[in-house]
Amino acid sequence: MKRSLGTRAMVRALVVFLVAAAAVTWLLSAQSTAATSQSASLTSIVTTDTANHAPALGSAAIADSIAVTEVATPEQTAESDAQSRVLQNVFNGVVFGLLLALASVGLSLIYGTTGLSNFAHGEQVSLGAMVAYFFATDQPVSIPLTPWEFVIGWPLWWAAIAAIVIAGGTGWIQDKFLWGKLRKRGVGVVQQMIVSIGLSLALLNFLQWWIGPDRLRLSKAIEVRHQVGPIQIGNITLMSIAIATVVLISVALFLQRTRLGRATRAVSDNPSLAAASGIKVDSIIRLVWIMAVSLAALGGILMALYDSGTKFDVGAKLLLLMFAAVTLGGLGQPYGALAGSLVIGVVVETSTLWLGPDLKYATALGILIIVLLVRPQGILGRAERVG
């Protein structure tokens, strides 16, 4: 990584973004003409119905985003309605992408510095949300294999910070007692990957055992929604966007400006060379682990607030989206993970306009496969032989 964000890479990312945007607008125009032609033939229908038949056309299932304000003629309603729905979905996609990026940047950093595709990263996301729930809920909770039940009920801020600290602790423990030892023994990357699969299976079931299989709410507060132009934004969502942006920018500044960050990029580029020039590779990797799992935990908490609910397997569902994002951006490229997450987020959310909501993750996996076909090194990856 000589210059981690070269001009060519930027141009490439921009091109992909523009193509995606063009595709979205094209599909939007196709959809709205379809909607207008439909509604033109149904001019006698009462205006409130137009709001209802549009979802039937596009089968969009965002329950609370259908906001009909003023109705002039049926044609106009259908068009502006479809448009605002698309805008809303693109916006939701960007938010989802930002939160996904929190998790996938860590995945990418781990891959970059150790070469490990960490299949347990999804469970780190769930762990953050679950621990935050453990501290924040006013329901009685217990620790596995102990018979006592107690109520903690901290305010959400405290609970979130405690969860992130504990998650960071698990990162430290993992690297000290598991991954570091494996590296020292010279265990191969593929073997480590299967170990991470075992760890993910163990963690997933541990969380189910500990917290239970129900859907949980982190916060009981009812979100205040604002109407900004055609888009609805909730208070909590705004806060999440702010936190995610600040954290992502500080990660970027850390990587770009600080000595440790530069050392991290050096290890990511070539571990032996980094070691030879006096960088303590092992402590850098430990730092990366702590950072990556803390970011994942933060992502899990924010995602739980954004979705207004969470479950023990939320991270397992996100894992493949993270892999799609990381592969799209280029394995081992933290900025690539960010760009990839945004693309994946927007695609996942806008796909619900045309496909059923139960297929929204499938589209992301489709992208993953197409990317590997066309450009296996991803948007920001260097063209090199990966076989």
Binding site: Q191, G198, L201, A202, L204, N205, L320, A362
Partner: protein
């Protein structure tokens, strides 16, 4: 205690155990012989059972249904292998796991409700009929020693017989193929791809053959599994693939009887752990519904410990490790 012992022994030869053993034989073609990291074996199984069940439901004969199951899974293998077999190993892992999940999402999607039955899947009585009609056994419960199964319906003596005969056939095929010149090329690819390439072998094509054959074996395993239960997309998620990996590594990858031994050990151990935990650990500490995640937690830990401390499994040879970077 005696009941538990009977349950454990019973688990050793149920159709589920046979189906997982067969799926692991398929994975053994991928991983054991060739070193391919297929993390989507459950997807192959699911496609196989969809192919079989839908063909039978639409009135096709059994032989056609089996051919459809094989064909669907082989096409799936070709599509998966095409972009990824030229790339580094972990790309195949990510793509296969993603593709398997995609199959599951598509299968449980409401859009294909008329074809796949969405998330409820395809009920057993819609496709098991023709297979059960072939049964030579009586149509009632049959006790053999302490084990009671139905003669023909669902998890029956008939299915047990067919399942284990198929497992035996595929183990024989695996044994012959792995010692053939073809199998030696695959092992060569596993050990050193470039060396094999320098001998003039088309590595890409050999890998593709291994992927397709192993996937087809997985599809047959899926058919057996569905005949014992029903077609249920959510039972073929990622955990299923991970279990198959665990039991293959437990028995020993690249060995002939490893998959069978691994499957038997895996399922018996699960029943044993659940039984013992229910017996010894009081309900206040570990309630009934917590037993399942608890025992699967142990599966995950077992997988980690196996890979770290005994990657060759019970039967394997340390010199013949399939892990290759």
């Amino acid at each position: 205690m005696g009941d538990l012992l009977v349950d454990v022994v019973r688990e050793a030869f149920t159709p589920t155990t046979a189906a997982f053993a067969l799926a692991a034989v398929g994975l053994n073609f991928h991983f054991g012989l060739t070193g391919l990291l297929n993390m989507g074996q459950a997807g192959f199984m699911l496609l196989g059972m969809y192919g079989f069940a839908i063909t039978v439901r639409e009135g096709g004969p059994i032989w056609l249904a089996v051919i459809v199951a094989l064909a669907v899974s082989m096409v799936f293998g070709l599509i998966l292998g095409w972009p990824t077999l030229k790339l580094r190993g972990d790309y195949l892992a990510i793509v296969t796991i993603a593709a398997a999940e995609m199959v599951r999402y598509l299968g449980r999607s409401q859009n294909f409700n008329s074809l796949t039955g969405a998330s409820t899947g395809i009920r057993g009585n819609e496709f098991k009929g023709p297979f059960e009609d072939l049964s030579p056994f009586p149509d009632r419960m049959v006790d053999v020693g302490p084990f009671a199964f139905h003669g023909t319906r669902s998890t029956s003596w008939w299915l047990i017989l067919v399942a284990w005969v198929i497992v035996a056939i595929f183990i024989l095929i695996f044994a012959r193929l792995s010692r053939s010149p073809w199998g030696r090329v695959l092992k060569g690819i596993r050990e050193d791809e470039d060396a094999v390439r320098s001998l003039g072998k088309d590595v890409y094509s050999y890998k593709m053959q291994a992927l397709v054959i192993g996937g087809a074996v997985g599809a047959i395993a899926g058919v057996i599994w569905s005949l014992g239960a029903s077609v249920q997309p959510d039972s073929m998620g990622r955990p299923t693939t991970f279990w198959i990996w665990t039991l293959l590594l437990l028995g020993g990858a690249a060995t002939i009887f490893g998959p069978v031994l691994g499957s038997i050990l895996f399922w018996c151990a699960l029943v044993l752990i659940k039984g013992l935990a229910a017996m010894w650990i009081p309900d206040t500490v570990l309630s009934q519904e917590q037993l399942q995640p608890f025992s699967l937690l142990l599966v995950g830990v077992t997988l980690m410990l196996l890979v770290i401390f005994r990657p060759q499994g019970v039967l394997g040879d340390k010199r013949e490790l399939a892990f290759n970077d």
